[in-house]
């Protein structure tokens, strides 16, 4: 058994960490946090040059053709660095949707531009409150044009293209939903930025008015493609969350070692030690669940839906837990804008919602476990 990343993959992780430590310091993240730039363009360019954006994109489409385990280790580092770039939207959602359902021409058009950093992509799924469900998709597609409003759309204001979920039928079944590919720089699109919990990753509202769109995948196959995309993204986001959890835990640990109160290191108080020990427990459980998700993702195993839901829940809980208790360990200083703790708190809570809420994934996990048991 080798339930671990290979030495090459670990080396890639070290390389990504080194690169991000240099190019994505908390100071760099703050430029986006403070609203001085919509995302870190230099970093995005650098990620492309390092080959990280296209690491799982096949060579014939301009990528490095490495694989999803390699993408997982990079994702972990992106989460650890709290990178203010549209990585998850472009790489986990848009590129994955293209890889699963794109025609040869669509892949040739968009995948090389993703790998090179020229194009930012996203998934436009949500329409206000509610979790992923066919009934919540109201935007219509007819005669090759889309009409409706999507919100929130992650990185919608900086994206060049979007994969859009649209209603093409009214039978009340999953087959009512189809996917479309939209060039957001064309006509019929109106984009409005939304303030959101995590300013280091933008959210937008996109209105489509008689907007031209081309189908992505077969008519009526949209929901089944989306479910696959969300499962794959759930595993990849879980690695970001694991990276973020570890970093928040480290920050708390370091502060507990440095800070003196009542004449001793605060890390010598059991109340603080035990809080940090519990954070370590959450982070470890999340990491282990995510490794299983990585295995299922990289081998396209039948276990992927269950593994993805477990990784999603575990990593979401861990990141929220570590980020909030990191602030608690820091005390009053943790609640200042100046300290970096709130960046992880914001990211943790935004990520907990992005692919559908925790309660949605809990529901999914139980459905999937029942299916497995019935089989």
């Amino acid at each position: 058994m080798n339930f671990d990343f290979s030495d090459d993959q670990k080396q890639l992780r070290d390389q990504a960490r080194k690169f991000l430590t240099e190019k994505c310091s908390p100071k760099a993240v703050r430029i986006v946090l403070d609203g001085k730039a919509p995302y870190d363009k230099e970093l995005w360019k650098g990620l492309a040059e390092m080959g990280f954006l296209g690491v799982a994109i096949p060579e014939e489409f301009g990528g490095a053709g490495a694989g999803h385990l390699e993408l997982c280790v990079i994702a972990e580092e992106m989460g650890r660095a709290n990178a203010p770039v549209p990585f998850s939207s472009t790489v986990y959602l848009a590129a994955e949707a293209l890889l699963i359902a794109g025609s040869d021409a669509q892949k040739k058009k968009w995948l090389p531009t993703i790998a090179s950093g020229e194009a930012i992509g996203t998934l436009a799924l949500f329409e206000g409150k509610g979790n992923p469900a066919p009934k919540n998709v109201r935007l219509t597609a007819a005669n090759g044009v889309l009409n409706g409003v999507k919100r929130p759309v992650a990185d919608g204001a900086i994206a060049d293209f979007a994969v859009v979920a649209a209603r093409t039928g009214s039978s009340g079944r999953d087959g009512d939903i189809s996917l479309f590919l939209v060039d957001l720089k064309g006509g019929g699109v109106e984009v409005k930025s939304l303030t959101n919990l995590d300013p280091t990753r933008g959210q937008a509202e996109i209105s489509f008015r008689d907007c031209k769109a081309e189908p992505l995948g077969g008519a009526g196959e949209g929901w089944s493609i989306l479910c696959q995309v969300l499962d794959r993204a759930a595993v990849l986001c879980a690695f970001e969350q694991v990276g973020g959890s570890d970093r928040a835990l480290e920050m708390g640990r370091d502060y507990a070692l440095d800070r003196i109160a009542f004449g001793r290191q605060i890390g010598s108080f059991q109340a603080v030690k035990h809080m940090l020990a519990d954070m370590y427990v959450s982070a470890t459980l999340a990491r282990s669940n995510s490794y299983y998700g990585a295995w299922a993702l990289s081998t396209n195993a039948a276990e992927l839906p269950e593994a993805a839901a477990a990784a999603r829940i575990s990593a979401t809980q861990a990141f929220q837990h570590c980020a909030k208790n990191n602030i608690q360990v820091h005390g009053g200083m943790g609640f200042t804008w100046e300290f970096d703790c709130h960046m992880y708190y914001r990211r943790a809570n935004a990520m907990a919602l992005g692919l559908g809420s925790l309660s949605y994934w809990e529901d999914q996990l139980i459905d999937r476990m029942r299916k497995k048991n019935a089989a």
């Binding site: 671990d4 507990a256 070692l257 470890t284 459980l285 529901d363």
Partner: protein
């Protein structure tokens, strides 16, 4: 990343599987599979006899104490082979429960500190299950603070004379031998005045009394020592070095990798899958599903954490400290799971025993669960270990560190 055996591992697995298939006491498999925390494992036979017979059979064929050297009754296997054996032994591994302390703690301590002739005479019958060993560390005044123990050992010629009391000794009532941590010098700070011995539990002056636990069952004992004589050649390690010797024992306890920890989750999931609530199947209920999902990811997280440790073993590495979370997570989880299972039963959840739902499985689990959060290191001690050894946080400030043991206060009030 894969779950595949290496060719050598696969060969070992096939050999082990074939031997277990041909030799295991299959008539008890069903009962062993259905056992859960707080439940008597076998009803149809005396478990001690069944366990001893299975252990002897394994020993005769070279399958006992896989990780021990051959000359002491083991197989000289690699750590990963030991894990593979546990996986293949499956429910029959339940029959090793009364040997865990002997094989996992007493044996390795003997190997590290006993005289060669003692190793050769005492270890093989321990490996084969013919002799059972217990560990006599905890005392009424020394639980988490083991080094606070008060049982005295005083030199008298070639012997030591033991007086005092131990508690929470698993299996003392059926044990043949034990390793015993004593205080030989109360005038020095507590960690420095300890000495370790092994002894015959049938020695005159040893009295074993079962403890009736809060659950009503008796898995543990008190052991009283009144002028018990132990020859000096049964001393393990130097006089005054007992603390270091005990660390060897405890390290072995915590390094048991791949041993499944009981979370109660499979039992709860199975229960909820068929349970009907007032307004429909439990498994369709949103609140139930949310609870199940939260426990599911803890159970799977523990499972894959253990797989990661096994992978390190397979590569010949020492597993990291991740595995230390198992007991901490599982202990409180099984308590919560049992509490919730009874909540689902409504007022009738109060009924326990054979007449209760599922013959009282979750009621028994609930009553046994508090012990899991205390035995082998309380939740709080486990958190200290993680905080100090994994995260590198400072140790507790010890007010008794440099104080002679005899000057340490013994009462909190009055």
């Amino acid at each position: 990343m894969n779950f595949d055996d290496t060719p050598q591992e696969a060969e070992f697995r096939a050999t082990a599987r074939a031997w277990i298939g041909a030799n295991a006491p299959g008539q008890y498999e069903d009962e062993l599979r259905k056992s859960s925390l707080g439940r008597t494992v076998l009803k149809s036979a005396n478990i001690l006899e069944v366990a001893k017979a299975w252990q002897k059979k394994k020993a005769d064929a070279g399958w006992a104490c896989l990780h021990w050297p051959k000359e002491y009754g083991g197989r000289g296997s690699t750590p990963i082979e030991r894990v593979i054996w546990q996986q293949e032994e499956g429910p029959f591994g339940q029959l090793s429960r009364m040997f865990i302390i002997g094989h996992g703690m007493c044996g390795p301590t003997m190997m590290a500190f006993a005289r060669e002739e003692h190793k050769r005479s005492y270890l093989p019958p321990l490996a084969s299950g013919e002799k059972i060993w217990c560990q006599l560390f905890s005392e009424p005044a020394g639980g988490s603070d083991v080094a606070g123990l008060r049982t005295r050992a005083e030199r008298d010629g070639d012997d030591w004379v033991i007086n005092g009391q131990k508690i929470w000794t698993s299996g003392a009532h059926y044990s043949d031998y034990g390793i015993l941590l004593t205080r030989t010098d109360p005038t020095v700070p507590k960690h420095k005045g300890l000495t370790m011995f092994f002894l015959d539990m049938k020695s005159p002056g040893v009295e074993v009394r079962p403890i009736k636990q809060a659950s009503g069952a008796s898995d543990f004992n008190e052991v009283y020592f009144t002028n018990v004589r132990i020859p000096d050649h049964q001393r393990l390690g130097e006089v005054g070095d007992g603390w270091n010797v005990s660390l060897t024992t405890l390290m072995n306890e915590r390094s048991a990798i791949g041993a499944a920890v009981s979370t109660g989750f499979p039992e709860l999931f199975e229960y909820c899958s068929s349970l009907m609530l007032d307004d429909g199947p439990a498994i369709e209920d949103r609140a139930v599903r949310s609870k199940l999902a939260n426990w599911a990811v803890k159970a799977s997280g523990l499972k894959y954490t253990s797989m990661r440790a096994i992978s390190s073993l397979s590569k010949g590495e020492r597993p990291g400290p991740e595995n230390s979370i198992g007991k901490l997570v599982a202990g409180s989880m099984i308590q919560d799971v049992a509490t919730y299972a009874l909540d689902l039963q409504g007022a009738s959840g109060v009924v326990s025993g054979e007449d209760a739902e599922l013959a009282g499985r979750f009621q028994a689990m609930l009553l046994r669960a508090p012990g899991t959060r205390v035995e082998g290191g309380t939740d709080e001690i486990m958190r200290n270990i993680i905080a100090e050894r994994v995260l590198g946080l400072p140790g507790d400030i010890r007010v008794d560190k440099d104080v002679p043991f005899s000057k340490i206060p013994t009462k909190g009030r009055g």
